[in-house]
């Protein structure tokens, strides 16, 4: 039986094509799509990620900070920190304006933290989509 042939790997698009949409997409959720003239999609993505982040703040969710310790502590805190910071300007503005909610017990606080992290993780998906559109892999 013939071995399955792998499809040829697509070459990476040049950095000057995708850097601006991806960077703007990190700073402003949906910004990369605006730059690429996908305004309808950009508005939907911007509204969804921003609403999720703002709801997380309103529920007084805690922001993760990188911590050392056992492997689980490192994974959770570094992962959460990456998720938080992926929201771009939303995260930067919030921390610059002095938001520092301590991690407190309670379902609402816990939901808030998850909303904040998920907003960032969804923004990473949005940045990947902007990269694919800029590179011509998607319309």
């Amino acid at each position: 039986m013939a071995a399955k042939e792998k499809p040829p790997k697509e070459p990476m698009p040049p950095i000057n094509v995708w850097l601006a949409p991806v960077a703007l997409g990190w700073l402003v959720p949906g910004g990369g799509h605006f730059l690429l003239k996908r305004t309808g999609r950009a508005a939907l993505l911007c509204a969804s990620v921003t609403c999720m982040f703002v709801l997380g703040l309103l529920m007084r969710g805690a922001m993760f900070k990188p911590q050392s310790g056992d492997i689980l502590t490192v994974l959770i805190n570094w992962g959460g920190f990456v998720g938080d910071i992926a929201s771009g300007l939303l995260y930067l503005l919030t921390t610059w304006l002095g938001y520092s909610q301590p991690d407190m017990p309670g379902a609402v606080h816990d939901y808030g933290s998850k909303f904040l992290v998920t907003a960032g993780l969804l923004n990473i998906l949005v940045m990947v989509d902007a990269y694919e559109i800029a590179g011509g892999r998607k319309s």
Binding site: S48, C51, L58, M59, V108, Y111, L122, D129
Partner: protein
């Protein structure tokens, strides 16, 4: 800044709405496919919400 107090259902429902919109928009290639996929993901979130909710209810006895 006022603190928002949402129930488990309200928080999970809002989570499902916003996640479904993003997953629908970034996943497919045509607007029709995006709409269908977004609705499908939202349906899965809501089904999981009710399913796991009932599971916990019976699990607690």
């Amino acid at each position: 800044m006022p603190k928002m107090n949402l129930s488990h259902f309200e928080a999970s429902f809002l989570f499902a709405v916003f996640s479904s919109v993003v997953l629908g928009v970034v996943s497919k290639r045509t607007d029709k496919e995006r709409l269908h996929y977004g609705l499908y993901v939202f349906g899965c979130f809501v089904a999981a919400l009710f399913g796991i909710g009932w599971l916990m209810y019976f699990g607690h006895g």
